[in-house]
Amino acid sequence: MCRIGAIKSKNKLHPSMALKLMRSQQEGHDDSGFAFVMQDMGGLFENYKDLPLLSMAATVEGTRLAEDILREVGFTRVMQWSPDINHQKGLKIEAMPNYIFEVLQYPKSYRHASQEEKEELLIDTSIRLRKALEESSSGFIYSFWPDTLTLKEIGSPRDIGTYFNLWEENSDLTARIITAQCRQNTNYDIVRYAAHPFFLEGYTGLVNGENTFYEKNKSYQAKLYKGYMGFESDSQCLLYSLHYIHKILKWPLQYFKHTITPLPYDEIVRRENSEILLRIKASLAHLEVNGPNTLLAVTPQKELLCVCDSKKLRPVVIGKTEDTVIMTSEVVGINDLMPDRKIEDDIYPNERETVIVKNDLTVERWQQ
């Protein structure tokens, strides 16, 4: 079983927090990788929140390819950051030649464009970059979105941490939200795109468990929106469903749970809004998940979200202090990072719950 984690804080967090959160949950690792997404950036990126931030790993050729495309579209580089690599011998990591984290300025023609138009440009450019890199097997693009930084690598989480110097805290690379997982999707090939967290247009998702309705979800989602692509992991489906419900259909978040784990018919008919719930159940039947899953997610509003499958076959726990909330698979990770919190306040979501961490860190629990 994968272990997943999400931290949201009033403080700026360094990725070492994510490594430490995952360390005690190591029995779920297999040294297949480490990946994290940072959102609501601090440090060097604090002042560029409105500009798109590209996260990719590529060969030299891939780097040039991406630069050409970005230039052609009209993006210009504003700022670039490179991780401080520790080339120590014997580290278990399959590193890429280049890691690119750069802030770009929108093309001139987009200076006065609407938010929607800018977002459209970013997703189109992401898809184009991904296809170009894929065709030439020259790299991976993880995110291209404002205020978001992604790193994914294959190898031992501890060694990946050492390689990128992530164990030591520093104030350059910080964010108020970090989501992380310490392994790759080992059901299938070990590929970087299959590593959680997955990111799409401000939504981040991490899932543990196998989604048994993968084929069903995928065959439906593939036609729903151009950004629903890849499907290297069956878990991506849950992120796409969240995106579809919330961003495309513009439904309130509480209907996400009704979509992926609809209530039994006999229970729906006793509900006040049964007509609506039945329609959702029928219309979005192909987005149901029936497997053992816990999803942790981040929304563009920078809220955290947690839902479980309807049989509650995967663990998850939420712990909090005044300034930080952690959602993760096992309480051991929280115990390590917040030993002094009030454990009576720990939340163990049930199979019907959606837990939301608001921007002010208040926690809401919605029963389905």
């Binding site: 069903k216 309130p252 039945l278 219309s283 029936n290």
Partner: protein, 542 residues
């Protein structure tokens, strides 16, 4: 004694040969009494009593059982005689050198008609070459079929894509803004359309009781399609009509009484099924031979005692668009757009085109697409149609589902598949596999007949549903035959069979880790046949 001539029908031409063991016969007469086809008879034979050349004239007369050699009264192999014989003195042997069908055509100048099913199973069964091969074990625990909760329900009625639901959000809650097409959640098995007339009144009543009982006592929302032969007014005005899918076919039989009853109906029917074609005889209309048009059938259908033929097409429907306009719109309007209206077609090379057209119907008034495969049964058909026309259900159902997937519209018009399900004794498995291939549910008539005690087979036994002489009283209209059928037992057996099927469906859902119906989960299936793998897009395994 008259001379035997070559150009006559002989016993050796018949499809079944009676093998009679005189030494076991006690001449009780039960075999001849029970034969509804008048195919065997008691007869007196004259025999020589001695081979002595002195007393060579000495003979005696003995009573034996003999087979009639007649184009009209011939043995169908139903085996009732053997069943009632206390001593096993009678056996029926299938005649491999049967010339009956040649003789029939040669002497009658008419096409041969029969009921039941096709007896030319040349292609083997695709569903039997598919297994459920994706078993949840480690990554996704399987469930306990007996004790966990499962939901065996599927939408029936037009399902709109989420962005077409026209939902509004108010105070963080979704509210409905427009009347949406009717949609009901039903059990994924539908008792398939057999009309009053095609089956006996007792059989029809047993199906109706089983349907009502399963709904009201077991909470299993199974639906029964009435077939097109009218419906007793009593039923229309009762609460049970909500479990009934009313059928309209090209003959429109019985609709007069339905329309007259409308003002007094307290419940809406479960749905309307427009029958365009049926799998057993695609391109052919309904056929009820005069022998089955009993007095009450005449009354309920509003016709005299005569061969009743429904035309192969609905008059006035020249295209799919018109069909949508006329039939769907009118049927929707009849019940105020609150009852799902579905269509049943025979599986055909062209089924996908029909399905695509209906998917694109701008009025969203098509509530279900029923596809009937060639292994389906029928009350009566020309043998030529039964044996040589039609299309297997599996690939066509799959084609329709994948056509919808290709457009991102799967599930919008629920698919129901039928035709030969349970042929090899595995009805639940057939249903499950078709659901994995994209069906929302299945329908069956043949299983109901089998459960009721039908003695027919796919290899030529009985298949005399067209005659009205059904020895089991299922497809009979002859009072003494109909009354052989025990309504209570048939209803109970139908109920039992569905309860057993319910358990078996769960036994298949559990290992693939599904607590809801696995519609479209073709990833759960494997096949050992490469062609099937390629055609259906499921994993090839060996």
């Amino acid at each position: 004694m008259a001379a035997v001539k070559i150009n006559e029908l002989h016993k050796s031409d018949l499809p079944w040969i009676l093998e009679y063991d005189e030494s076991k016969c006690i001449q009780c007469g039960k075999c001849t009494a029970v034969c509804s086809f008048n195919a065997i008879k008691p007869a007196v034979e004259t025999r020589k009593t001695s081979n002595s050349i002195v007393n060579k004239e000495k003979t005696e007369k003995v009573l034996v059982i003999k087979q009639n050699v007649s184009l009209d009264n011939y043995c169908r192999g139903c085996g009732m005689c053997a069943n009632v014989c206390p001593n096993g003195a009678i056996k029926l042997i299938r005649n491999e050198d049967d010339k009956y069908s040649v003789a029939y055509r040669a002497q009658k100048a008419d096409s041969f008609k029969k009921g039941g099913r096709s007896n030319l199973n040349t292609e083997g069964r695709t569903l039997d070459k598919i297994k459920i091969g994706r078993i949840s074990q480690m990554t996704d625990p399987s469930l306990d079929a007996q004790r966990h909760t499962f939901e065996l329900k599927t939408p029936f009625g037009r399902v709109l894509k989420a962005d077409k639901l026209n939902f509004d959000v108010k105070d963080g809650k979704i509210i409905e803004t427009a009347q949406l097409p009717p949609n009901r959640w039903i059990y994924p098995i539908i008792f398939g359309d057999m009309s009053i007339g095609a089956v006996s009144w007792r059989m029809w009543e047993a199906m109706a009781i089983a349907t009502a009982y399963l709904n009201e006592v077991h909470g299993i929302p199974i639906r029964m399609c009435t077939g097109e032969g009218g419906i007793p007014t009593k039923l229309l005005k009762s609460r049970y009509v909500k479990y009934m899918i009313l059928q309209i076919a090209s003959g429109h039989f019985g609709w007069n009484r339905i329309i007259k009853s409308m003002p007094e109906m307290t419940e809406d029917p479960a749905g309307i099924l427009i029958k365009i074609g049926q799998g057993a005889k695609p391109g052919d209309g309904g056929l009820l031979l005069a022998s089955k048009v009993a007095r009450y059938v005449q009354e309920i259908r509003g016709v005299p005692k005569a061969d009743l033929l429904s035309p192969p097409t609905h008059q006035g429907l020249y295209s799919i668009e018109e069909s949508v306009q006329k039939m769907f719109l009118s049927m929707n309007a009849a019940f105020n757009f609150q009852v799902p209206v579905a269509i049943k077609v025979a599986a055909s090379v062209t089924s996908v085109s029909v399905y695509n057209n209906l998917l694109r119907d701008p009025y969203n008034i098509v509530g279900g697409f029923f596809i009937d495969g060639l292994a389906a049964g029928t009350g009566a058909a020309h043998e030529i149609s039964l044996n040589h026309t039609g299309h297997p259900i599996t690939s066509k159902l799959r084609d329709c589902y994948l056509a919808a997937v290709h457009q991102g519209r799967q599930g919008e018009i629920p698919l129901f598949a039928g035709g030969g399900l349970g042929q090899t004794g595995s009805f639940a498995a057939d249903a499950f596999k078709l659901i994995c291939l994209g069906a929302n549910g299945v329908f069956t008539g043949r299983m109901l007949m089998e459960i009721a005690g039908c003695v027919g087979s796919d290899t030529g036994r009985c298949n005399a549903c067209n005659t009205g002489l059904c020895p089991a009283g299922i497809a009979a209209q002859n009072e003494c035959l109909v009354k052989r059928l025990d309504v209570d037992k048939v209803a109970q057996n139908l109920v039992n069979y569905i309860l057993a099927t319910d358990i078996e469906l769960k036994k298949l859902m559990a290992p693939v880790g599904c607590s809801t119906l696995p519609v479209g989960r073709s990833d759960a299936l494997i096949t050992v046949d490469k062609h099937i793998s390629r055609r259906l897009d499921i994993q090839y395994s060996c």
